[in-house]
Symmetry: C2
């Protein structure tokens, strides 16, 4: 897609003659391969792509991806007979070039070695400009992300019909994943998190054998994979009956999310949005219990390279897509997280996920 | 796990003072982090691990993984306050070392840069010895892989009860994934492939909107993720009624798989097993239609670094786990693949997946 290639080169701080993308073996694929080709089918392990400042591109694919590769428009494609073909292709394409770019964030060290062995050109890590380009989603991407968000939101709303006390966490995760796929998700954006009771205090817990018990928090964090793009939503429920403390935790997190959302507009620093949520939590008895960044950019990857966090220097622009997910985590007791996806617009932002947020008891 | 660290150093061709593992952002995590720590919960983005020839190890984790990290036995763990802590930890740990190893197959170029900036030591790519170690599964790993295989096999047997003409491919994929998760899979080992009709000729197709029609081949390729390990099974069905040509294709693939399985034993070259299957196919009217390697090693990754293929130099040893998956692909018409997972033993091999293989019409 020429407009995407153009965007990558526009963000380049250094001029290069070409950018080479090389996919290693799953999961070490470079999402930029799919960003530029727009291919939604196929795996493309050990396949390569090169694109140029004149916006042209070429790729080399293995035989078993040849059929999938045909769906890329206007990209001349060589089909490998054996792995020597890749080396030759690289040599041929890189010959005579002075400076070539790579994507150091998604290229393995071994893949880098392969490229280095094929050329005398200077190799420049262009991962920053690739991230900048990919962080500003185009209309086509936002349409896909909106659908991915819609699938996750619908499932979030249906949870009370499917989840109840006594179920095991992994059974809960199975239901959620199933509901998403029945609505057209091609996969889970990531392993579904179904953390109950004390497990809800582990932000990156997945799901285990524990049965849902009365008085549990139940953190459900999931997203739909749709045309290679991802959504990411979290809703926290209570099993049986909510205690006063649980209600206070929940309301604090919800208030923190609202405070953050109010801040979102083009031109504001990501860190400020994080701080708006953090200030709400830190002004309560739950001070210090919000232990991660407020959100991450999302797109072809769940963590797509930027974020709303004190550790990330980003100024919001239209087309940027972030999660907004404050949480309170009390080790050994439990946790609450509420997460939605938004896209920054000219006028503020739009929600990509929109399931109800009030506290629900299952 | 000291026995796994020991195995990695035993395969080292060069002596190093330590091996450093660094996880980038998902999916660019190094499975070796989980191989060595044995951790089954948590994501561990931007976290690090170092291990030494004396079999000791240490790790540094972000705050939000601190709870998950506690489950690692005997690994001193530093919890990061901010990202500067990682740099300092790397500097401190690498100071005074002459040679350090990295895993070039799973470390990003950017991660390599981070390590390089923290040390004057010579940096050696130890990915070959890491692959060699990880290719020889220990008892604990085989037990997990056996369970992952059992989940997938049970689901394969139940398919005729759940799949029928008129369903869309993605609905089929949803059913399969759900059945696996209800049996305890924490996720799909990879996106479920449900390729019907002409789509069955694309080995790496996933699933789309197409409805199952009478006369279709239906290739179902899926696996269970279980305690971070993966299974991988394929069964091909016919919708409605099988033509004579379809039966011939199916029987040829089945015969090819049987021929390959017969060859499997410790001491044999992977390529010979591939050739046994290929010869069966190439001796029929379907010559040249088997377009990929016969199988890949499987473990923490679906493609775990080795394989039964003319492109891979491997001699089978007890503990190695491979898929055995011949296929015939006729572009525009359809394809058949039959795939099982095996572990090489002292006496031959054992099946990790064991669903029935005779042709079934749905």
């Amino acid at each position: 897609m020429k407009s995407r290639i153009k965007k990558i080169f526009e963000f380049a701080e250094e001029k290069v003659d070409a950018i080479v993308i090389y996919n290693s073996v799953k999961p070490h694929l470079d999402k930029t391969f799919f960003y530029v080709t727009g291919l939604t089918e196929g795996v493309f392990e050990n396949c390569g792509l090169i694109f140029y400042p004149d916006l042209s591109s070429e790729m080399i694919v293995s035989k078993l991806e040849a059929d999938s590769a045909k769906k890329a428009e206007n990209i001349p494609t060589k089909v490998m007979e054996d792995k020597e073909d890749l080396k030759e292709w690289l040599k041929e394409k890189l010959e005579g070039l002075d400076k070539i770019g790579i994507n150091g964030s998604e290229l393995t060290y071994k893949g880098f070695d392969k490229i280095k062995d094929s050329t005398d050109a200077e190799i420049i890590d262009m991962s920053d400009s690739i991230v900048e380009a990919r962080n500003r989603k185009d209309e086509n991407e936002i349409e896909i992300l909106d659908k991915a968000g819609e699938i996750a939101s619908e499932v979030a709303e249906e949870i009370p019909d499917h989840i109840e006390k006594g179920m095991k966490e992994y059974e809960v995760a199975a239901e959620i994943s199933y509901l998403m796929k029945k609505k057209g998700a091609t996969g889970d954006a990531f392993e579904v998190i179904a953390g109950s009771g004390p497990n809800s205090a582990e932000p990156h817990y997945t799901a285990g054998e524990r049965k849902l018990q009365k008085g549990d928090f139940l953190v459900l964090d999931f997203g739909a994979l749709y045309k290679r793009y991802r959504s990411d939503i979290t809703r926290t429920f209570i099993i049986g009956e909510a205690s006063d403390k649980q209600k206070r935790i929940y309301e604090t997190v919800l208030e923190a999310q609202q405070a953050a959302l109010k801040k979102i507009e083009s031109g504001i620093k990501g860190e400020e949005i994080h701080n708006a949520a953090k200030e709400v939590i830190d002004s309560t008895e739950f001070e210090g219990k919000f232990i991660h960044g407020l959100g991450h950019s999302i797109g072809l990857s769940t963590h797509d390279g930027s974020g709303l966090s004190p550790n990330v220097d980003v100024t919001l622009e239209p087309g940027m897509v972030f999660t907004v997910e404050p949480g309170i985590y009390i080790s050994g007791y439990g946790g609450v997280r509420i997460e939605d996806d938004i896209v920054v617009t000219e006028d503020g932002y739009e929600m990509l996920t929109d399931a109800e947020r009030e506290l629900k008891v299952l």
